[in-house]
Symmetry: C2
Subunit: 438 residues, 2 copies
């Protein structure tokens, strides 16, 4: 019976696995050097947990099932609810600030399309327990620190930053009700991806008054944070909240400048993020060429832990999926220098089958010493075995040949082709010495 993989999932053969590891290892390294600790939760949780943050309709985007005990469960579509649950469960025992990262495997029952699969990996970094804008700066810095380490420059990507607090203060100032805010956010979030008329039409459905709608659009076109107050002044009376939010934005941009990533960052009031749960700074990193394609997004969500039954503790974070990132890296030619699927320290070749046992002994000893070593299962010609060594990206090749009668091995440097004959005892002694020197 021939069976295929399910549509929207990926098989990671060794060449694809190397790319996945390259991305995930990079996420881990960037997290650790920025002072984050790793956590993870289960791949499935109670279905109702995923509905707290995203509403009942999320069930349709989930792979959900019932176990034999009748529990309604689902494969996780995101890790933030798990984070909230885990932090709440141990809140009094956890030293703060909580600076955690994770690289979960996630599944969403979506229609597969370019850059959006039904199974993917996502880098998450979160700082919990810090009210200060410093934490938002840390999240954005860590994100850019990773992308920069891949070779992406300010010419390739930009972190576009805005403030939900500012947007909310402004919208309430111009008469939008609290109730309408939630339906307005997803509309504003789509602005950059929609033709102007389509956006106007969607906006008009939520904001029926034309003058108010024009003010909303004017706000979204402000180009500098220092222009916010003056521009706002022309539109409305600036509230304390709006002025405070503006100050916060300015401080943030200054901090990012100090951190040396000012040229990667810009204010963009068009950044809204669809979800209702953001409460402060929001940002997305965009591919500059790729038509508004977001590589990642995040922001402050000070009410999340409370929504999950815990205390009121501030939090800010970021999530980045592997699919869009991989497309971007491929387009920019930044996946070319990735490590190969195999690389050995030694390949042990043997001149004829009678020497196989010796070759195996040497292989086993090298591996025991922690060195990546392989040998051929078939006693092919030395030429064939050397080719196998080369295919396996071996640094050196040991040849067990007729010199072995005198207790000697031939060690060949695969890059230079240089060969050296050495007494086996001496070879092991030198290896031991090198280990001691490290």
């Amino acid at each position: 019976m021939k069976i295929q993989a399910v549509k929207g999932t990926r098989d990671f053969y060794p060449p694809q696995m190397v790319v996945r590891n390259f991305i995930i290892d990079g996420w881990k390294a960037a997290s650790l050097r920025n002072g984050f600790e790793e956590y993870d939760g289960p791949i499935f949780e109670y279905l109702k947990m995923f509905q707290i943050k995203s509403g009942d309709e999320i069930a349709e985007q989930l792979f959900n099932f019932t176990d034999r005990g009748g529990r309604a469960l689902a494969i996780r579509p995101e890790i933030t609810p798990t984070l909230a649950r885990m932090v709440n469960q141990k809140i009094s025992a956890l030293p703060r600030p909580i600076k955690w990262f994770s690289v979960p495997r996630l599944c969403r029952a979506e229609r597969p399309q370019k850059g959006r699969l039904r199974e993917f990996f996502q880098w998450n970094i979160d700082i919990i327990g810090v009210d200060d804008i410093l934490a938002d700066a840390e999240i954005i810095f860590t994100t850019i620190d990773y992308l920069r380490s891949l070779g992406l420059t300010p010419k390739n990507i930009k972190a576009k930053i805005s403030s939900r607090k500012l947007l909310a203060a402004f919208l309430i100032n111009i008469g939008i009700t609290d109730k309408d805010l939630e339906s307005l956010y997803p509309v504003l979030d789509k602005k950059a991806r929609l033709p102007a008329e389509a956006f106007d039409e969607m906006l008009a459905k939520v904001v029926t008054d034309a003058k108010t709608a024009a003010m909303v659009k004017a706000f979204m076109e402000i180009d500098k944070p220092s222009n916010i107050t003056s521009k706002l002044l022309r539109l409305i009376n600036v509230s304390d909240e709006a002025a405070e939010a503006e100050k916060e934005l300015e401080d943030l941009l200054e901090l990012l400048e100090s951190m040396g990533i000012g040229d990667y960052c810009e204010f963009d009031p068009g950044i809204v993020r669809g979800l209702a749960y953001y409460t402060g700074i929001v940002f997305e990193v965009h591919d500059i060429v790729g038509e508004f394609r977001a590589v990642c997004g995040g922001g402050r969500f000070d009410n999340l832990l409370k929504d999950f039954g815990g205390p009121s503790i501030p939090a800010t974070g970021m999530g980045m999926g592997d699919c869009v990132l991989e497309i971007l890296l491929r387009e920019k030619g930044l996946l070319k220098n990735k490590p190969s699927t195999r690389s050995l320290d030694y390949f042990v070749a043997y001149a004829d089958k009678a020497l196989l046992t010796e070759a195996i002994k040497i292989t086993a000893n090298l591996r025991k010493a922690g060195l990546a070593t392989d040998f051929s299962y078939k006693a092919g010609s030395l030429k064939k075995q050397l080719k196998e060594a080369s295919l396996a990206n071996s640094t050196r090749c040991i040849i067990v040949g007729r010199e072995y009668e005198n207790g000697e091995l031939v060690v060949k440097d695969m890059a230079t082709g240089k060969q050296e004959t050495i007494l086996e005892d001496k070879f092991w002694a030198e290896l031991e010495n090198r280990k001691g020197a490290l």
Copy 2:
């Protein structure tokens, strides 16, 4: 709303995550140094795929569900079916031998108990396309190479090895039908874990003739492979298959001796493995003290690829879960030297809030240079900040204090407590030099 994790799953807080990473990183390192390449498949597949190897009843042990397209899917309970599918799909393009490993996350809808959870990780190594006993030796060597690297000695663990080919030849010789073999294997597999009477009772249900049952028991008590033929001779006429299988076992044990792990290995005809799909060498690694507890198991399964709609290609492999292993390592005190959840190269402390921006700049520059660095979000006393540095296992601490007026930093070695005052420019120049030297 307070929500718990589902029973039988684990939350990996940073201290637990470190242990999981310690185990999985060790699996990966052992695989790579033994010449295996990494692969992975999706977390869910078509339900029917998992029924090929294990029968329809496996559905009860699976978390299965139907997607919106009406497809019957399941979370993977093992990765071998995925391996068979992936290899079959690209069989003509893959260079052989295929020597692959994976560390999949797996789920089984079992009743949780000690060492057996509903979600776990499993190390899998497989060699496909090699008929030779050498491949079986490689699988056992790689398994022991990993366990040995953790500090487990032949006094802690043993690889108990037998041959399904030998067992099958013997059972057929004494008159067991092919049909009865499949129901007999799971019974024999349980022998070591059952009281003698309970085993006798189970055996009698499949092998009704008492004399035949006695022969089966006599076989399972043979203690050395070299005794097989002579012991068998007393019982029956040795078939060619049985003699061949015995020779193979003896060759394997000799190979393992050459590889330097002879003292970790022993012949044990009581090792059967329950599943019908094994065709040759089978083995389990047991904790010697822990009452027959198997740490891992594996063997040869030459028909698997064919059963999955592919060509007839020999294969041999091993699977090791993380739960029993972790219990074993904990019991033996081998998890004590694991890395801590955080460790920094530098912690940047600042004497008062006015110096925060400088501290941030220094932090950002160190991180950019690839060094794990953190700082305090609160301008607490220097004493408090140094304590934070120590909690984060920082190697060094940089103090931005009043010396900074003269452009100087204080660098404190956290292990020795020694402090050095250095011009900031010189600090960066030296860092650059050290990077160049590496």
